[in-house]
Assembly symmetry: C2
Homo-oligomer: 476 residues x 2
């Protein structure tokens, strides 16, 4: 295959609309659609309405606001005139993160502006890249696609769903998907809420880890008791909690839940090769991690550990006296908050049953002695992992689209985190691919969030190529 | 040796003064000398003054109030007219515990009263047995001793020290001892702030565990970081804290600090035999411990574990997110509060050095990986253990005195807790023996504290016998 080449017509259209794209984004960013803050509920609605108007202006024949018990989602549909064209759901969100710590912003978070950088220009403001910027380039990419191909409807049937609660936990998103499953029926989901490896290493995300949270509650004596009178002769729930946490990993830092790794989709040699090809600067990565050392499962690199391997992490532990000075007690209770990051091939439900079996084993081996009651609670089923294999046609389409836009080889990354994207794969039973142009220095969720304008334009270009590519190569 | 017999003269004197003893105690108990509550500082002073007057009335030629940076101690001295008589320091305290939870009291805590019981009469009020009751019977025991022997000064030189801060940590007690070391020079210390095994098992305390507290502070990433982005690839301080706590005991529940057991004075066969002779009701003991199971060092009974074996106990553990819901972080810090109960033969200082060596071992074996910083802080040297061997003459004197008063065989217990009594042994370099008549159902530190009047009278009788016995049997 020859190197993918850009389409001059697409590129020209995108470049001609550079100012329009910037102006649109500046306008949207002035709406402080912070979903986590109830005081901004009206702003989230205004933000939805703003995008509705833009979708209508872009030509979408059907545009709706889907209300939820929480904040509104925008939905739009534009059928291809080719009845055999594949159907694509595009996912993004129009809510933004809170602005704290406000004092670290160089400017007002919702008074966005453009400034020059060493690389061109950037647009600064809350939501610039996460995720309004990525939704805006979809509008311009679609326009370029239509203009360059001379079509009056897109080459693929588009269903755009833009959520209003992504930054506050996507509380109602899964139910919304379930309620509109038929409406959202599709062949592939394109998520635009991600980034590339770095400015000079263009890449595509192939998967995300899932997550399930668990709380261990340990109860020992019916109240705190005196450690002089009873210490050394009754079991201490804090000690037992510690013993459980310590037993959760083996010497190779592998999670000891029975069968935990059974279904795990292993990294292929090719994937490991491509991950190794990424320019990884450990000291810089550690800076991001704010840690002075790496640690983790034996036999895997740092990137493999965070992208492709499941974990068990202590998010919090507490029990007994934690104030100033001392209090010589055997505490009555101890608690541990755990979260398990899961990878493709693992089922959230299996973690729940494995934990019960594991606790039974700990009771049997004496780690949990008589006199200590342990319960494991999983407050919710959590988020599922998702992964699209390297040879999946949709992923290959995205790869080509990005390669044409950026005129470079495209590598692959994954997300260590977990998001509602996996619900799309799960509920809609469709492969999820990621098309995103964020940069690691975009300061998402942090003060002075920004988007590189050249990257937003590349995003628009990649969108135009992707619709064309999917329409051409998709085999139903 | 024939069974020790009571002295009719002593007994008669004590019984004749029953009402006087009750009246004196009722009067003292009306002074709410709560040392932990600064609002009651004046009451603690009034309590000291009250006892000063009683000591003067009892005939002590020298009575003083020793002020401290905190609350006052009462000191009194009465030399024997026999220059070869042994010198005895009597220790007790005149401050009392707070009264919370006040709503569980049947009457006002500082409006003491006498009521009938199945066994005779009891006196209810805060401080009835802990420790004003035990100080009052010393006054009457001494009077009985003088009356029965026809002496005008005690058979032993008495130095009475009655602390005002015992219930709030004896903050200034050790320094007071150091400052008055010469004045307090003695052959033996008699502590009257303890009890018997139960109503029908009369016993004497032979020792107390010491204690040293330690805080482990673990620092990982410079701030909490996202467990999706970094989890599984950097060390988690909460996990490492748990690993340390888990490693602190081996499979036999023995503490793993290097050399921890090196100096431990082992239980003799005779001691184990006598402990086993105590009527031990495990289910009742567990009720007191509020636990549904026992646990501890292999090879020892429950009483041996709390009385004669050292421990390492987690008093508190915390790190990461501990609020409602979840927060998927790798926490920045974790902390553990530990306390070590020590037994005779262990030096508090050695625990400090052993902990450092132990942490070095944990760094070497990988339990503490690079990226986690651990420090161990010992806020104070703590309280030393004390133990008087069964064959010590002073202990034998106390045993005979108790046996005469109660007309029964006397067994031995120890205290699992730690107290300023050990400082007496340590600073004054004298053996400490315990003469106390508390009962396990006296509700010390709890609502409706009480003292059995018959037991207070037995205490007075035992005091009278003890001074005589020590004077007769002591070999300088």
């Amino acid at each position: 295959m020859s190197d993918p080449q850009p389409d001059p017509a697409v590129r020209q259209h995108v470049l001609e609309h550079r100012q329009a794209l910037v102006d649109a984004l500046l306008e949207w960013l002035r709406i402080p659609s912070i979903s986590a803050d109830p005081d901004h509920a009206d702003d989230v609605s205004r933000s939805a309405d703003w995008f509705v108007q833009r979708l209508l202006a872009a030509g979408f024949p059907e545009v709706e606001v889907w209300s939820t018990p929480g904040l509104p989602t925008v939905y739009a549909e534009w059928p291809s005139d080719d009845p055999d064209a594949p159907t694509v759901v595009v996912y993004g969100h129009h809510d933004v993160q809170p602005v704290d710590p406000i004092e670290l912003w160089d400017s007002a978070p919702f008074e966005p502006f453009v400034r020059a950088t060493a690389y061109g220009e950037e647009l600064v403001g809350r939501g610039a890249i996460d995720d309004k910027g990525q939704m805006v380039y979809h509008l311009f990419g679609l326009a370029a696609h239509l203009a360059a191909t001379g079509r009056t409807s897109p080459a693929v049937t588009l269903k755009v769903i833009v959520e209003g609660e992504e930054e506050s936990g996507s509380t109602h998103f899964r139910q919304l998907l379930l309620d509109n499953r038929e409406r959202l029926r599709c062949d592939v989901v394109v998520v635009s809420d991600s980034g590339v490896y770095d400015r000079s290493t263009i890449s595509v995300v192939t998967g995300m880890r899932g997550m399930i949270e668990c709380q261990l509650d340990l109860r020992g004596p019916a109240g705190d008791v005196h450690s002089g009178s009873f210490g050394g002769a009754i079991p201490n729930p804090a000690t037992v909690a510690a013993r459980l946490v310590a037993a959760l990993h083996d010497a190779d830092h592998r999670v000891t839940l029975p069968g935990y790794y059974d279904g795990v989709v292993p990294l292929t040699d090719r994937e490991r090769e491509l991950i190794a090809a990424l320019p990884f600067d450990e000291s810089r990565w550690l800076e991001g991690a704010r840690s002075s050392g790496t640690d983790g499962e034996a036999g895997y690199s740092t990137l493999e550990r965070v992208w492709a391997r499941p974990t068990a992490e202590v998010n919090g532990i507490w029990g007994g006296y934690t104030g100033p000075g001392g209090k010589t007690i055997v505490p009555s209770e101890a608690h541990v908050k755990l979260s398990f990051r899961l990878v493709a091939g693992q089922r959230n439900e299996d973690v729940m049953t494995a934990m019960e079996a594991w606790l039974d084993d700990r009771r049997a081996d004496g780690a949990v002695p008589a006199g200590i009651d342990v319960t494991a609670t999983f407050p919710r089923i959590g988020v599922r992992p998702c992964l699209t294999p390297l040879d999946h046609p949709a992923l290959q389409s995205v790869t080509r689209a990005m390669a044409r836009a950026f005129e470079t080889e495209v590598l692959y990354t994954r997300e260590g985190g977990s998001g509602p994207e996996a619900d799309l794969a799960d509920v809609l039973e469709a492969p999820v691919v990621f098309l995103g142009v964020g940069l690691p220095d975009d300061r998402i969720h942090a003060p002075n969030e920004k988007a590189d304008i050249e990257f937003l334009l590349k995003g628009a270009e990649a969108v135009a190529y992707l619709w064309d590519d999917l329409a051409t190569t998709w085999e139903r």
